[in-house]
């Protein structure tokens, strides 16, 4: 057994049992964004969180050990993603990457938006011309320092 096996077991059980990620998040007691990433092998769970996942999906006990083990992160099979939904985010970076850079530097100076001290909220935004996906990202600004 390794972490990938546990991810596959979770996905299989989720499809078979018809559980939603929102339900998993409620059991785990965290946001649906963090919980989904954690179940898909991108975050590390603590004792209670791991047990909640194991119970909800009916996984073998050993799976909890792997859920508490820090995973090798990176969830995509290719460096340029092929799935159209995920590619659109890659395209946004391709098109807006230098814009992110210019505007963050203009506002904050040299540094980056943290991808670690980071949180995210994904919601449906009702719109008469067709509902929209709204994503709010918030990451701590980390300035480069001289030394």
């Amino acid at each position: 057994m390794d972490r990938n096996t546990v991810t596959e077991m979770i996905i299989e059980a989720k499809v078979r049992k018809g559980i939603t990620w929102a339900q998993v998040a409620e059991h785990v007691g965290q946001s649906k964004e963090w919980t989904t990433a954690a179940c898909l092998g991108q975050m590390t769970l603590d004792d209670a969180q791991a047990n909640a996942v194991v119970t909800l999906f009916g996984l073998p006990a050993e799976a909890a050990l792997w859920l508490k083990h820090t995973p090798y992160k990176g969830s995509l099979p290719t460096s340029v993603p092929t799935d159209p939904l995920i590619y659109r985010f890659y395209e946004l970076i391709s098109v807006y990457g230098t814009t992110f850079k210019e505007l963050i530097h203009e506002e904050f100076g040299d540094g980056i938006m943290s991808a670690i001290d980071f949180k995210m909220d994904l919601q449906r935004e009702p719109d008469p011309k067709g509902d929209r996906v709204q994503i709010v990202m918030s990451g701590k600004f980390l300035p480069y320092k001289t030394y």
Copy 2:
């Protein structure tokens, strides 16, 4: 002269004159996010917008023609970006890509978030533990249809 030359002329004039993107946006009459992307060769300007940019930066008249010409988009020199600020966004897709996919499909069904009918707002989020970068993205959901 081509579109890349115009982008380089804009960047050079901006550095030399000390103009901010917020000031450019005010002259152009659009958000700072769209305006920056447009100046960096990722969006197409209309007559008034192009003239505003040409005047503000003191560009030659021919530059306006290129600003109104739809550019070949994609602002980054490599498929995996090397700049740390831009890389962090790429890392977010690497880590959260499958999470985006799961949650959007759970909420909306099969389809994508549009990267075309899309807007974005980037703000400083004051925080006593260190200010944060807040990015709000909003893209129309486009469902796959059967036929």
Copy 3:
């Protein structure tokens, strides 16, 4: 079991039973283009469609769950396809890509042809000098907007 396993089961059953894609499409009640893509793991089926596929090919019941699960899309093993039939389409984009771009922008302005709100029809075009493959593509034009 995962979505790839179901695709392999479909291909194997199709070869063994000698079913055509046109027959599958008739059972599913959609076009042969959409139905083939769906069976090959690129589209999501609804309840009735999934059951039709499971029955026709004699798949295990669990397969229906996976056919209704949105797949990770992208059907080719390499970024430049090696199969001559598929490569010819890639070559058309290589040769005509900038032409598509110029003519669509000339007619519609800045924006794209949707690959989501998209349909396609593939027919034999009889011709005394040798029959031809005719493909009619139709995708909604999506304009970039300012904000």
Copy 4:
């Protein structure tokens, strides 16, 4: 001077003079699809066609020699295109590539659709829900033969 220089001269003159591809096609006496591809360095022009292009854009006489010289084809700077309009076509091949393969083989047997004995027509398809891009492709079927 080489063929790329001539392409750049054509694009520059086109932007400066505000000529449309439809107008170029009329002068050249061919479809707008073929004419655009030819001007962008993907097709070879004959005497009359080359002269028409040189006159219309006001190019130096030597340019006609290069327009009549068969070019090294391939119009895109990267193997996976970054421009969103062109990428959507690449995505269609990624998603529908195996579908093209299955349906053409089902209808015609083993072989390919020619990308040489090929023609294409791109039109606006009016639609109350938003106009559509319609592309009709027609390529001769070429069967593999035994020997």
Copy 5:
């Protein structure tokens, strides 16, 4: 079972039984070049040919179905081949590619040599300074046409 499995079964049986490709070709009733490519998963066999292969190698009956199924072509594991024999052909294209292009265009005009309406003959050419490999290729010239 899929087409790759059948290829592996053929190679294994060939090594175990000590059959030559010339013998296979004789049973199949085609040239050794076409027959070898077909057995290695690059061509589609008809009923009689598939049965001949199944009988000669002692394959299970289901294998005949796969031999008659058009394969996903491309026989090499990497885009630049590592095997020295195969690499030499790649090197010839690297060194002589522009020469092929110049001479075929000089003789025929713009177009290509078909890789579909194509045949090949590979023979030993006795030579006192060391025997030579002689390969005669013949492909139909396909001209680009205007439209």
Copy 6:
């Protein structure tokens, strides 16, 4: 000046003067295949050959020195060629590579066909169904030896 500059000067002069490769070969006194490859920077010329080329194309005297200098070989800009004419040869290796390997080993044992002690002849093969390109390659077989 370097070898690439000389190649570009040759191509430019050839287009401007309307000289054919067959004429160059006659002046140089070698086959059109070798002569074209040599002019395109893939072979090394001797004194007489270099002078013939310099005279015919009207190159500066220093160019002869570079034509006699062994070039860095490899005539294509990408590892998978984009030009359709050249790609077809790459496709032949992709499809027939393992066939070349099997048949040469069956006839000669372990070893390769030399790409150095190699010659080639490219001819038009008249055919009522459409003329064909015929290429005859001949390379010395070089066996691996034990030691």
Copy 7:
């Protein structure tokens, strides 16, 4: 003028004038590690630092503007570095990457060592068996948080 031009001007002036990085650091008033990275286009200088660099190297006044402009970071021409000195660091990551991961997670839990809130000191470590390069790196630990 752009940031790369300034970097090239610095390197050229440094070679011509025989200035050491230690001397530059003294003028700039920061460590030699930060100062070198800044001059090579990886860090942003403030007013006083930029003027010190411009004066020391005798650069044109406009160069100071670019030194104060946040650069597009990444100092290497290829993703796997070819220079042996730099490659050895890449090799250390290849060999010790999973060790870094295991030991930092064991000590700190899930998170990363910051490459932004980071400093470095490079010294000669005298050793009778041959002097050694000693590098002390210190980066803030940034923990992943749940949300």
Copy 8:
């Protein structure tokens, strides 16, 4: 069984038994840095070290043979690492690579820091503003010599 299997067995046993790398290092009698790298398949163990590892993790006896066999080194699945912790080290080389080069050459002349005669120490550095990861690397300087 091969070396990778042994690495997987070690990782599985470590997770199941809750052993720390510091404990493994103590049993093996070497630093935690070297021991971790060795267990993860990057170093070669001697008799006593291999037996200590086999006993501690409860591996089959044959595993000791593989631990004493020099492994094929390189512990990462892609040339640009996707895991954020490991990527930060890659980013440091991307940003500071030319700085390493300049400063080591300035101090030592032409040559490299050995990645073989190398040792490393990784510690927690307490800091009121947040603890830091401290890594001390020490590699022998190896000068290029003339000959």
Copy 9:
């Protein structure tokens, strides 16, 4: 069973039985360099050699058939090798590649050193400052010829 399986069986048996390559070479009756390459799937063995290998390692009889079958050559998993020992050879080509080219052409004219009619001897060269690895390579010079 295929050739890779036989290579893995040889490596496993070698580790388990503690046989050296020098011993294998003695049994096979060839140099240790050729013998090792042959066992690792890069050369073709004759009857006697194959039987010697099968007997020494205790392989199943069928393995002899595969050892006599010409393998698909190329022993490394990535185009830039990650293992430090093998990388050093790649680095030598990166650093000295143009030197090899210049000096061989200066001595021999245009042509190559054969990698087929090639032999190699690897020895320990005792040296008081630390023993050295000495490798003597000898390959036939093959001149390009005109035709």
Copy 10:
């Protein structure tokens, strides 16, 4: 001026003046292997050596500064070399890489052959069946140590 410019000036002067590398080596007072690599931008020259090169080739005085500056090493334009002479060396590593690894480890234990404390001698080896290229490489063995 930078180091690449100096390399190009050397190559141009060498071709124009007809100087051999052996003559350069004599003037520089080092082996022809080291001297050629140094002139091609892979090694660092001292005062006397740089002056010898500048005088012999008639370079501008500033060139000496660059010859004494440690270059960014790596002399090849692509990671898999296209030139047939250089490719053969790459092929040798591809075919014999694992053999190098096995035999050096068998003789010396875990470690590498240095590419820094390294020297090389390239000679013509007369042979009635065709002269051979003989290359003798000698690199210090560097053992991995525990710590």
